[in-house]
Amino acid sequence: MFHRRELSLIIVIAALGLVLAAIAPGYFARENLSDLFLGNMPVLIVAIGTTVVILTGNIDISVGSVFAICGVVAGIAAKGSGSVLVATIAACGVGAALGALNGSLVAFLRMPSIVVTLATMVALRDGLRWGTEGAWVQDLPPGFQWFGLPQSSYPVVACAIVVVLQSVVAWAMRNLAVGRAVYATGSNETAARLAGLDTARVTFGVFIVAGALTGLAALLNSVRFNQIPSNAGLGLEMKVIAAAVVGGAAIRGGEGSLSGTLLGVILLGAIGPALTFLGVSAYWERALQGAIILAAVAVDAVRERRAFHAAVAASGPA
C-alpha cells in the first residue's frame, strides 16, 4: 500500500518526533499541537487539490489569490446572510468558478497551466485589492467566528473535516474510475485518449476540485479570526507545491499520492516550530525546508534515471 516515499517520510517524521520527545517534550503540549494544526490546515486542504492537479501533469499557482478572494467572499456572505452555510457555499462556489476559469483555459484552449495560473494569480490578487481597496472584512456576525463553537472544540471539528476530506479524496483516487483517469491523463495523455478517456474533461474537472477545496480552506481559516484580511494566502502556492513534491508527486504528472502529500505537509509544517523548541534559530526554518525539497527531488531524479536505464535495457530499440 505504502510506497517507499511514504515510508521514508514516516521514518523522518518519527525520528523528528523522538528527538522532540527527548529534548523538548513541551512540543507535544495540546496547545502547541492545536496551533500547529490550525496554522497548517489551509495548506493541507489546498494541497489535496493541488496534488490532484499535479497528478494530471498540470499545476495551479493561483491558489493563494483564490484563497484570499474566497475568504473575503465568505465574510461578505456571512455578513449579508448571517448564515455559516451560505458563507460555505459562497466560498466553495467562487473557488470552483475560478477553478473552472483556469481549467477551461488549460483543458479546452490547451494553454500551459503554469502560464494560465500565473496570469490568474496576479490578476485575481490585484482585482481583489482594487475591489476591497485593501480593507479587511469586519463586524462579522457572532455565529461566524469558530462556527459559534467554543474556541477549544473548533480544532476538533476542523480536524474531523480534514480527516474526512483527506480520506474521501484518497479513497476516490484509488477506487473510482475517475481517479484512474486522473493518473492516466498525467502519465500518458495520448494513451489515455486512445483508451477512450476524455482527458480534457478530466483536466477541467481537477481545476474545479482544486478551486472548491481552496474555497473551503479559506472559509475554515477565516472563521479563526474576528476580521478577514484581503491579503491572505500570500505564498500559499509554494507551500502546497512543496508539500506535494516532498510527498512524492512527480511534477510531470502521473505519479504521487495524497498520503504522501499529507506526510509532506506534516514534515514541512512541523519542522519550523520544532527548531524553535530545539533552541535552533528560526532563521534556519526556510533553509531546512529548502533542503528537504531538494533531497526529495534528488531522490526522484536518481530513481527515475535508474528506472529509465532499466526500461531501455528491457525494451530494445525504439
Binding site: S187, N188, A192, A195, A313, A314, G316
Partner: protein
C-alpha cells in the same frame, strides 16, 4: 610501390567493415560492410527496419557499433562521437531538418560552422555574407534573414545542405531527402548533389524511391534484416532486381497460418478521407475471422487511416459501417463503444501507461467491466488481469508489477490485453511485433490466429513483409495516403506487394 599501383582506383572516403550492432539482444546489424568513394553517390536501400538508419547512426557517431571497424580517409577511427565525425567532414541531412526555428537562416548556418570562445563578438554582417554565399552555391534564392520557422520543408532542407557545404563536408549523408519535395525541388536537389560529386565529395543516399536511385546513384548497397545483400554498380541493376534483393527471403514455418471460415463483414469503410492527416478516399472491408494485412512504407498513411477509423483524428469525409450499419465515430470512446479496438504502434508513447501496474493498464479502456456502481473492484480487476497474464503468457512477477519494468514483448502483450478486455469485434493492430523478441513475436502471431478463430476481424498494419504475407488472408497496400492495391493471400508475393508500396 603497392600504393602507386592502386592510384587509379578512386580513393575511399569511408570504409566501414563488418559492423555489428544489437539492441537489447535484438540484432539490428550483422557484419555489414559499406564503403564510399570520392565523387560518387552510393545509395543505401532496404525495407523498413533493414538496418539503414542504424548504419547511418553508427557512421555519424550517434550510436556505437558492437563490433567492426570504420576508416575515414585512410585513418581508422577509434573514438567516434558526433563531434569527431563532424570534424572529419561527415554531415548528415535527415528527412526532418534539425534546425532552430526561432533563429534566422544566417544564424542557423553560423551556429553549426563557427568555432571560437563563448565571449567572442558576433559579426552579423559576416554571418549574413557567408549564408548568402553558401545559399548561392546551393543555387537557392533564400534571404539569410528569414526565420527558419517560416520556411517550407524543402527550404529548410536547402539550409541543411548549405550547412553541409559550409562545413566542407566530404561525406554527405542524405536520409530520405526527397520525401517532402516536389518534382521541381527534387531536380534542384539533384543539381546540388551533382555539384557535391564534382567537388569530389561522396554522398550516401537513402531513399525508397527507386526511380530516383536509378537516376542519381553510382553504386547501390542493399540491406535486408541487418545484413548486406549486395553492393553493385547501379547500371548493372534493374528495378526488378532491386525489389527482389530487398525482399528476397523465404517464408519459413514461423507463420503457421490456419484456415478460418470467414463470417459476415464486421467493418467496412467507404471513401474515407482525412484532410488533416492526408488519408484519401480509402475503401476497405474486413470480415469476421479474417486478418487483413495493411502494407505500405513508413509515411504511406497506414497509421493515419487507423487513427481515423478509431476516431482519434475524425474523418473529414466518407462512411464507416459496423456490420453493415453506418456509424459516426468522432472520438476513441465512440469507437470503443462500437467494438473497435486499436493497439497503437509506439507502445511506450501511446500504448501502455508505464507508471501503472499491469492490472490498471489492462482495465483502463474498460473500467466499467471491473467496477460495480462506479467503484473499481480490486478483485475483479486483478482476476481479469491474471486471466490475461495467463492467456497471453505475460512474464511478470505479479499483476501489480509496473508495466515500465517489463520487456518490450511483454509491454506489447499488456497493450493487447487492454484491448482484448474491451471484447472488441474489430481489432486494429499497428506494428504488433515491432521491436519484440522472436519468442514473443511467435506468441503474438499465435494469439492473432486464436482471436480470428473466435470470430474477431483483425486489421494488421506491418512493415515487415514476411509478417504481412504470412499472417494475412487478404492484403491491402497503401501508398501516399490511399489504398493502391488489394490482393488475396494466394496472389500476393513479396515482389508485387513491395512494388505496389513503392507506387509502381
Amino acid at each position: 610501390m603497392v600504393a602507386s599501383g592502386l592510384s587509379d582506383v578512386p580513393s575511399l572516403l569511408l570504409d566501414a567493415r563488418d559492423i555489428s550492432k544489437s539492441f537489447a539482444g535484438l540484432r539490428a546489424l550483422h557484419r555489414v560492410s559499406f564503403d564510399l568513394r570520392a565523387g560518387e553517390v552510393h545509395a543505401l536501400v532496404g525495407e523498413n527496419g533493414a538496418g539503414k538508419s542504424t548504419l547511418i547512426k553508427i557512421v555519424t557517431g550517434a550510436e556505437h557499433a558492437d563490433a567492426g571497424t570504420i576508416t575515414v580517409a585512410g585513418a581508422p577511427l577509434t573514438r567516434i562521437d558526433p563531434h569527431t565525425t563532424r570534424a572529419l567532414g561527415i554531415a548528415a541531412i535527415y528527412q526532418q531538418p534539425a534546425l532552430f526555428p526561432h533563429l534566422t537562416v544566417a544564424e542557423n548556418i553560423a551556429l553549426s560552422l563557427e568555432r571560437g570562445g563563448s565571449w567572442r563578438r558576433i559579426d552579423r554582417k559576416a554571418r549574413r555574407r557567408r549564408a548568402s554565399e553558401l545559399l548561392d552555391r546551393v543555387g537557392a534564392s533564400l534571404h539569410p534573414d528569414r526565420l527558419v520557422g517560416t520556411l517550407t520543408m524543402p527550404e529548410q532542407q536547402v539550409v541543411e545542405i548549405a550547412k553541409a557545404i559550409g562545413a566542407e563536408a566530404r561525406i554527405v549523408i542524405m536520409d530520405e531527402p526527397t520525401a517532402s519535395l516536389s518534382d521541381r525541388e527534387v531536380a534542384r536537389l539533384f543539381e546540388v548533389i551533382a555539384r557535391l560529386r564534382a567537388a569530389d565529395a561522396g554522398v550516401i543516399y537513402i531513399s525508397h524511391r527507386l526511380e530516383e536511385i536509378a537516376t542519381i546513384a553510382d553504386r547501390i548497397t542493399v540491406l535486408r534484416d541487418g545484413e548486406t545483400v549486395a553492393t553493385r554498380d547501379a547500371r548493372d541493376l534493374t528495378r526488378t532486381d532491386l525489389i527482389r534483393m530487398m525482399v528476397g527471403r523465404e517464408l519459413d514455418a514461423v507463420f503457421p497460418k490456419r484456415q478460418v471460415p470467414l463470417g459476415e463483414t464486421a467493418l467496412s469503410v467507404r471513401d474515407l478521407s482525412n484532410a488533416r492527416t492526408g488519408v484519401r478516399r480509402v475503401s476497405l472491408s474486413v470480415r469476421r475471422g479474417e486478418i487483413l494485412g495493411l502494407a505500405g512504407l513508413v509515411g504511406s498513411g497506414r497509421t493515419q487511416l487507423a487513427e481515423t477509423i478509431f476516431g482519434l483524428t475524425p474523418a473529414s469525409a466518407g462512411e464507416i459501417a459496423i456490420e453493415g450499419t453506418p456509424v459516426t465515430i468522432v472520438s476513441p470512446a465512440d469507437a470503443i463503444d462500437r467494438g473497435i479496438a486499436y493497439v497503437p504502434e509506439d507502445r511506450r508513447q501511446h500504448g501502455v501507461v508505464l507508471e501503472m501496474s499491469i492490472a490498471a493498464n489492462t482495465s483502463l479502456a474498460n473500467l466499467t467491466a471491473v467496477s460495480r456502481h462506479g467503484l473499481i473492484t480490486r478483485e475483479a480487476e486483478h482476476r481479469a488481469a491474471r486471466q490475461y497474464v495467463n492467456d497471453l503468457r505475460i512474464k511478470a512477477s505479479s499483476v501489480d508489477a509496473e508495466v515500465g519494468s517489463l520487456s518490450g514483448g511483454n509491454q506489447q502483450k499488456v497493450a493487447l490485453a487492454r484491448w482484448l478486455a474491451t471484447k472488441p469485434s474489430v481489432l486494429i493492430l499497428d506494428e504488433p511485433t515491432q521491436g519484440v523478441d522472436v519468442g514473443s513475436k511467435a506468441e503474438i502471431h499465435r494469439l492473432m490466429q486464436d482471436l480470428a478463430e473466435r470470430g474477431m476481424a483483425i486489421i494488421m498494419i506491418s512493415s515487415e513483409l514476411p509478417e504481412i504475407l504470412g499472417m494475412s488472408d487478404r492484403i491491402a497496400v497503401m501508398h501516399a495516403g490511399t489504398i493502391v492495391a488489394t490482393m488475396e493471400r494466394a496472389d500476393a508475393t513479396a515482389a508485387n506487394v513491395m512494388a505496389a508500396a513503392l507506387g509502381h
